[in-house]
Amino acid sequence: MENRVHIPAGHVLTVWASLLVLTAVTVTVAGLHLGSFSVFTAIAIAAVKASLVLLFFMRLKVEPVIFRVMLLAAAATITVIMALTFADVAFR
């Protein structure tokens, strides 16, 4: 048997509550019409929410480091693809 560190039920509920609060925050901020800043905050809040799900619900926090390395490799690939695409599209 593998010995895994478990995330306590209390933490899971806190994460869920945080996700709901962040959803309320992102909807509120979007209603303020802050222009290009609102796009940035919307994506930043989404990234925080996704990180919470990945770390606590998908347990990346307590998985061996190889899981995070794999995810970072995929994230880096996506970042490179996006950067190269915009390097093309932005200067046409």
Partner: protein
Amino acid sequence: MSAAVPAPHTHRDPEVSRIGMWLFLLTEMLLFAGCFLAYAVFRVRYSGDFHFAAQELNLSLGLVNTLVLLTSSLTMVLAIAAMEQGRAGRAAAWTGATIALGAVFLVVKGFEWAAKFRHGIYPNSPALAAAHTPGEQVFYGLYYTLTGLHALHVVIGMVVLAVMLVFVLRAARSAEGEGPGALADRLENAGLYWHLVDVIWIFLFPLFYLIS
């Protein structure tokens, strides 16, 4: 049975099976990343049209679905935790709740799409071609592609969880079959898929409903 027959050895390596699941999930992330890239490029090109078209989407329905999906991730975690403690009955109840929340998400999405269809807004519709700008047509094309692809993943996740529910219910009824540990590992892999569907929606929601 004679004593010479060795006990059957079942090899389990839950960590490696989770790595396999994660590798699959990473390919799913790349699939959606490609769609998000298309969204980003067209949003830069038609920012005004995207802004205008997004205002026509129903924020309340999108918000309700966000809360439904976030909560379904919680019930999924609780189902796996119950299974790890060997409480199959409780795990079955939480798995059932997760499937039910997935169904609620799809029903809400169905109403949302139906309302758009009634207004003649669907891919390649005459109303969309006549009364809307190219940017708005692209916006709705991306909207239907991404929410449709995501809804397909919700359906697949519900089917996977329904199959897992059968196994969990079987374990709840008898002590036979595979041990609760092995079942918890499989339920966790199914759960990883379900959480990924949630993660994708976390990005879809602001990009389509909040950018106006």
